[in-house]
Symmetry: C2
Subunit: 249 residues, 2 copies
């Protein structure tokens, strides 16, 4: 009765990749790591991702890999979809990296992509494992990713935009107390266009997802101090479950 089977073994055909979007109040960023290639000075810029273990649950694997590479934990991620193009890892420089670290670098790997949204200020990435660095990169500058990670990032962002319209997503991106401007900026960044202040307020309040606090924080700003809001958790949960139809800005 060997315990051989209990030993964790990487499955050479399966990986997860995580597209973590962060918001700092004005710009949308993507969490990327660098992987160095032995024979080359250039580093690969990629999403955090790695092979998963035999018998490891997909969601669990995504959380584990993200934590191993970037130190981020307790982040709720949602699956985007699987990417399995046989050529997805076949570029020259990608193969160089794979040969330096994988038992079977030639193997086709199907990767399950995940995405999430976090408040950048709450999470400071700390690279480890084969991640040389882990940092937030402006979404519009996140180009030249290795493997098919550009495609994965786009797909994840599309998913984000779609879900933004049907779910009260994006609230994890803001601090507990926030202003209406914060909220609106977030929506503008994700949707990629400006919104009318009054119309935005009207719609958002109708949903009853946010409620005013008795605080007018922000000391020392060179303008009128703004009302602070928080999320109404009970309505939030309710809408999370049901989605909601009319949320088009």
């Amino acid at each position: 009765m060997s315990k051989q089977k209990k030993v964790k073994q990487l499955n050479p055909s399966l990986s997860v990749d995580c597209a973590i979007f962060g918001f700092d109040g004005s710009e949308l960023k993507l969490l990327l790591i660098e992987r160095s290639v032995e024979s080359c000075t250039k580093k690969l810029l990629t999403l955090p991702g790695d092979l998963i273990f035999d018998g490891e649950d997909l969601d669990t694997a995504a959380s584990r890999v993200l934590k191993e590479l970037t130190g981020l934990k307790n982040i709720f991620m949602k699956q985007v979809r699987a990417f399995g193009d046989p050529k997805r890892l076949k570029k020259r420089e990608d193969q160089a990296w794979l040969r330096s670290i994988r038992a079977k670098p030639e193997e086709r790997v199907v990767t399950i992509a995940y995405y999430s949204l976090v408040n950048m200020n709450d999470y400071t990435p700390k690279p480890s494992s084969f991640a040389q660095s882990a940092r937030w990169v402006n979404l519009d500058k996140s180009t030249d990713l290795a493997f098919d990670h550009q495609e994965i990032a786009f797909a994840a962002f599309d998913q984000l935009k779609i879900n933004l319209k049907n779910h009260p997503i994006g609230f994890n991106l803001l601090p507990v107390k926030f202003t209406f401007s914060d909220l609106q900026k977030l929506y503008e960044v994700i949707l990629g266009r400006t919104l009318d202040k009054r119309n935005f307020r009207r719609k958002m309040l109708k949903l009853k997802l946010v409620e005013p606090l008795n605080e007018k924080e922000e000391e020392g700003v060179p303008h009128k101090r703004s009302q602070l809001f928080q999320f109404n958790t009970s309505n939030y949960v309710l809408l999370l479950e049901n989605g909601f139809d009319n949320f088009g800005f």
Copy 2:
């Protein structure tokens, strides 16, 4: 130089499963196959699905597997997502079947689910391979599926409903020429509720997706003969690409 690598080899960790929805003019059906278990009289009722080959593209694999098991070909399928729960194939009766056919029946298999919509009348399933039978089953009677196929079918149906609201989906379900009633019935079946005839017509015509033909077909119906419509292909393609916001009934 052995050609070993060129030999197609099944990957024991990867499969595809296809949720094919069919419409016969009044009810929504799901295409299911039966798999017989050697030691048992009871058959497993499942979605068409099987392991994929090393290096085989996912979309290609889905088409191949569907054809092998049911004879259906040239069906455009869309990926739902991956299912990889380590326990997804561990039920007693599921294991019995797997032991009879798989080299590694204990192995955790990640399956990539696909879905599609077809006009039932255009496709008559012909079982082959390990499919004992292949037939259309009423969606509400498609219960008691083996493995985690019930969950997959639900997820695929959810996807269908969501896409119905944002894309001109469901048109593959109808014959080239169709009446407004046909179209409306389709929507009612998928959405699971009745719609107002006049409002439906108004909205649908605004999209300019359908256009009237100079034919009032249907001979010998015990009522006024109805106008036939067809899809406006150019607008159809346009909307397929962009999706469209206002399609909520």
